[in-house]
Symmetry: D3
Amino acid sequence: MDTAWRQKIEETIDRALAEDCAWGDVTTQALIPPNALGKATAVAKSPGVLAGLEVARTVFERVDHSLTFRALLADGDRVQAGARMAVVEGRVASILRAERVALNFLQRLSGIASETSRYVEAVRGTGVRIVDTRKTTPGLRFLEKYAIRAGGGHNHRVHLGDGILVKDNHLAALRARGIGLKEAVALARKNAPHTLKVEVEVTSVEEAAEAAEAGADIVMLDNMTVDDMRRAVGRVRGRVLLEASGGITLGNIRAVAETGVDLISVGALTHSVKALDISLELEF
Amino acid sequence: MDTAWRQKIEETIDRALAEDCAWGDVTTQALIPPNALGKATAVAKSPGVLAGLEVARTVFERVDHSLTFRALLADGDRVQAGARMAVVEGRVASILRAERVALNFLQRLSGIASETSRYVEAVRGTGVRIVDTRKTTPGLRFLEKYAIRAGGGHNHRVHLGDGILVKDNHLAALRARGIGLKEAVALARKNAPHTLKVEVEVTSVEEAAEAAEAGADIVMLDNMTVDDMRRAVGRVRGRVLLEASGGITLGNIRAVAETGVDLISVGALTHSVKALDISLELEF
Amino acid sequence: MDTAWRQKIEETIDRALAEDCAWGDVTTQALIPPNALGKATAVAKSPGVLAGLEVARTVFERVDHSLTFRALLADGDRVQAGARMAVVEGRVASILRAERVALNFLQRLSGIASETSRYVEAVRGTGVRIVDTRKTTPGLRFLEKYAIRAGGGHNHRVHLGDGILVKDNHLAALRARGIGLKEAVALARKNAPHTLKVEVEVTSVEEAAEAAEAGADIVMLDNMTVDDMRRAVGRVRGRVLLEASGGITLGNIRAVAETGVDLISVGALTHSVKALDISLELEF
Amino acid sequence: MDTAWRQKIEETIDRALAEDCAWGDVTTQALIPPNALGKATAVAKSPGVLAGLEVARTVFERVDHSLTFRALLADGDRVQAGARMAVVEGRVASILRAERVALNFLQRLSGIASETSRYVEAVRGTGVRIVDTRKTTPGLRFLEKYAIRAGGGHNHRVHLGDGILVKDNHLAALRARGIGLKEAVALARKNAPHTLKVEVEVTSVEEAAEAAEAGADIVMLDNMTVDDMRRAVGRVRGRVLLEASGGITLGNIRAVAETGVDLISVGALTHSVKALDISLELEF
Amino acid sequence: MDTAWRQKIEETIDRALAEDCAWGDVTTQALIPPNALGKATAVAKSPGVLAGLEVARTVFERVDHSLTFRALLADGDRVQAGARMAVVEGRVASILRAERVALNFLQRLSGIASETSRYVEAVRGTGVRIVDTRKTTPGLRFLEKYAIRAGGGHNHRVHLGDGILVKDNHLAALRARGIGLKEAVALARKNAPHTLKVEVEVTSVEEAAEAAEAGADIVMLDNMTVDDMRRAVGRVRGRVLLEASGGITLGNIRAVAETGVDLISVGALTHSVKALDISLELEF
Amino acid sequence: MDTAWRQKIEETIDRALAEDCAWGDVTTQALIPPNALGKATAVAKSPGVLAGLEVARTVFERVDHSLTFRALLADGDRVQAGARMAVVEGRVASILRAERVALNFLQRLSGIASETSRYVEAVRGTGVRIVDTRKTTPGLRFLEKYAIRAGGGHNHRVHLGDGILVKDNHLAALRARGIGLKEAVALARKNAPHTLKVEVEVTSVEEAAEAAEAGADIVMLDNMTVDDMRRAVGRVRGRVLLEASGGITLGNIRAVAETGVDLISVGALTHSVKALDISLELEF
């Protein structure tokens, strides 16, 4: 993990340690001699894909720089239940103080990577990219976007400033002023920074075609049927990138991918995460 | 929402807005005149229990103090799909900039409240309290603990400093030094602040009895069978509070509650959240 | 100024006030009664284009919320020497404490806007956009990019994350690994977010053509002669946007613009700023 | 660079890196393997005096602690075009991410030192000190005051708390209350901390004499002619320090210095900086 | 000192250094060559108990990481006047910059530990615990609570969240709503987290008995006479912990302790601290 | 209280509220309905001089902006036991949450003002100024320096940057390099900013005379006998300001003042504060 990124992550970790009062662990202070040494292993309790090992390492280091953390696996690795993923050694009191926060990061990020990898598997061979959305947990966007990549996915916009995405509510606001989709695309071209592509959200084959003609770089097919998506692909492919969005599940994603779209975005990858079950086991 | 709490929440919101670059929404800047006015309604897309309306209000206000946010419902209210929960009015550009972050908070917190309420319903009449754990999202502990209460649950420790909880890893570390459960409780009593109760995690009926005799105030029955829990209740009830923990689901919680325990803690309430589906709809 | 942006600016202002110890103005405390009232006018001492009036207003308000600041002109307005641009009224002691910091912002930002407007004037009628660079003053990027727009310019990348710009040093690093310009563009396409355009810096007509063929969206002609730029335009125009860069002055910019490039970037707009002369005059 | 100062500078650097999103350099991430190593040299493109090499070093270290930065020259050194001033080695990706921010600091600070040294040269032999003002770039005061010293100048007040300077606006405010220059000096003496000298700004020979008689420690001759300055020196020298201020240029500073004043303050040293041209060249 | 605690302390130290402008020590800069080396010893000038040696070490390290600080004694040690407690070696300029802030911490914390130890001595043999209050210096609570422990005392609540303490003003507010002490205890039991004990402040023997019957875990006897305290002990001992509070001095504490109470809280330990006299002596 | 100062104070207050977890007052949350209203009065329990009423107001406002705080007296006012100094009205829960932190500030600052006024009284008529030192509580320097002024005292240096004070340790370090007091003063004159006076600490009449001859502006007579101080006054008065320092008590200060020194500095005013006894009484 390079230094600039590390600083970013340390702030997030420090906040998590602060809200857990990791410096005020009255139980451990009452029971464990400050210099007692020990060793603990992080073990997967269910299968999945890892993400966040370096974050967990940093949690332990922020609590006590004298702890040594040895990763046995790497982010992106696929694990089975029982897999040992990392070993931390040093002051037991420090390990216990850091445990919960380290696991809270590791379980959530691995949960995201695991689910992402299921979607990526489901479209294998189609050439389609699984991308995330801005529906991330407040405060954790960079880490969650990282977990998406660890699971084999790609990132959509990191924030409102690194892409132009004309959404339904933008179009509604413009329509109320008598401005249609075509003029919206022209406005975006004219006013937005020249380094960003213009993406437009549409809900029908006609709109998709209209957006492509208006000069959009990317067209998002929102909540359209598989049939309509296929038709849209037929109409505009080659001229724009096509992104399928809305209501995507592991059950229907293969069919969506086979329509020929280029990208499929899945909000649930980050807005509805199931933590990967991981525990930390002290050994003596 | 009182002022001290508001300050705490504003910091969390400001970080979320910063990571979304809400001040740099190039799409909206390119398309929407700064002074265009509009109105948007937050609408539930699936049934659940609300939490976070005041947080959402604060997101809109942080982005633009001139926006007015009117809550139509309150945190803790049960909604059906289609329910209108709040209306925000003012500059359209500001509404669009705040939209995603406001929804990210509202959907997650309402997801927690909704799931909590399902567990609370499942034990209705037994007198058992559903409590949360420290398995919360890093950075969002206070908000998630609030959502638990909005869903009818109660909070366990907020952090490592407001309760003594002697866990498996503490006991393992002590055992390695020749110190048993009984002495552990005595140590905790002697060294810890006198204002805090002592809770001990046990895995068998015998240990539960031993902890109670040693003077623990609360005994956590970890991953025990319903039968064993019932036996533990028989042995120690009245002398200590009993908390069931580990592997609790909506499928088995009623049986656990009927063993006579006082509290049931459920980590999944916060570590594996399914966002409540909520959208913001601009109207003209 | 909307609220989210205001927060961003307030942090910058608060740092400036802190380094000037605006709360510890021993001279004013020794001389001026805290409740003495007065009025001061900001006056241009040389001609230029204004930028930063709202920043100046915020400086006065941060020092003392009871001050009233009335802008007589607006950012982007052209002024002559002697023009009165704003009036601030209220406690004299507060006005004196805020004076220097307010002027430091206003003079610098107006200096940038003024110089930008000279470049914009110089290319009037050619359709060319004057754009800035990342050669900004550390800590003031957003304000300086704002001043560029106030002067009639456009912004290039705000930061390293909102555009792909393959520069000479990237190409050198790739060449050392046996990777040429063509493959560099392909790599960028494959690995970078799909929402961003790919810009490539080149130093010859041949490279410009190669970049366009490789699929770059934008080609930066770096330090090329006017003749070569004209040739490059002839080779690739229509397929890519062309940006002229390097060694641009008021003396040669018209000739550069007339080669047919789309954009001209000028680092000196922000790296070598001449403050606009503005003074604050107390009246009684 | 000692540790306390380093901490102060690191905050300034971290803000600069944050606004440049140095952790989110999509171009470098797309093109450069994280572990590719390289070497880059900072080279002067025009003659001047260096300042900020340690700041540049810190930028590289903040981005990646594994980079090694070797200064070939030191702050205060005079360079010719082509001079190699520092070499940085390590991960190419890190060098590229840090490059712009490091140069932004180094070019600006060296620009200030270079211009200061020109003024210092111009008064060589007269015993006059060139001093700066509070007309510095918001957020960079300490670094810019440092650059002044690197160029051979001296610092005037760092902020409003480390000297008493009764300026025109203070005197105007006092006059409006019937308080003259003499009483102003007495008030300052009486109310201000006893550890600070009292300086008064005057605009005529008479006022200079009046200030000296009133007990001022330093008299600032503001925008006076060379002849008047010479007369003022004749009247008060020996009793007070005399500072010339206002409208000083390289063209007239020698004449001003020869009037016998002790100090000459030059606002343009920091309010209108021309960056020294420096580039970073990757080698393989 | 472990890492998490160190971070907490470093923030406090950095603020203290900042308000002392330790980076801007004009005297030392004017007089002491930056690389002159030296050695200084911290010496007690009056007898007491030490606390804060690790804090002092950290102050020196924050100012200059190259300083070496060697503790000759440890926190909790009793010293006589003349005792040498620590030696710091390295750059003289750094030692001088850090001196005052290091001593300000060390003298205050040792003052607290010294006074605490006098109270602890006074009750030796009675089994009573001396505890502190929340009447601490704003910003220094954690350090002051630490100093209490160094002096042999114990901590009461660290903050409003780690214990339930129903005080006179709570009871007054409840009485105004027709709610008596008994119901107050019941309310606290019902609504407060189950991990915290319930303490009630009372002013008479009757109220003490009522609180015990109502189920309080701890009863605070506030400003009661020694006789009444003895009677209260007679009535409720064994059922609750008893804490004496209010008007405790070294003159009366032995008598209070002998009533049989379990805890005695003394606000003056932190609200009225007499610094231990310690000086730092440079040697050559 | 003006705005810039208010911001400075709010940061200090917010830290104090944070360490007291004012947002997490479990007792009040369990017992007091959020909307119950009430009124509380701050009452002096012993005589003294007030300081910090505006700080206390700000504490209440930071906790809950809807509280109204009415000062009945002002900072600097002398009070007797029983005096009502301020009334706060609004939500009882908010008053209770803010109570302790507000009193912690008010009692400490009033304790400083009260003690300062005793020293000021003791020298009344002599023309001597009582000044403070840098021996303040870490984190509270500005507030404590304010309380000194509220008690009728004056401030010495606020920090290391607003005065040159050559102390014993500086002189020792210089002596080790063969540099005497005279050259030390000359060095300070030459190298330090021209806006600051030069003060030198001496321990004998001879040194005092030497310092005055060397051109010091202020001479600090450290730990000298009253007789020696009188002699020093005889030798140097009129040429320098004289400051008595070290071992000053209420018992000896009058004699010291009558030696003819100009200033007497008293470290105990801030390093050994006795809080003024103040309580907050809820009324219904």
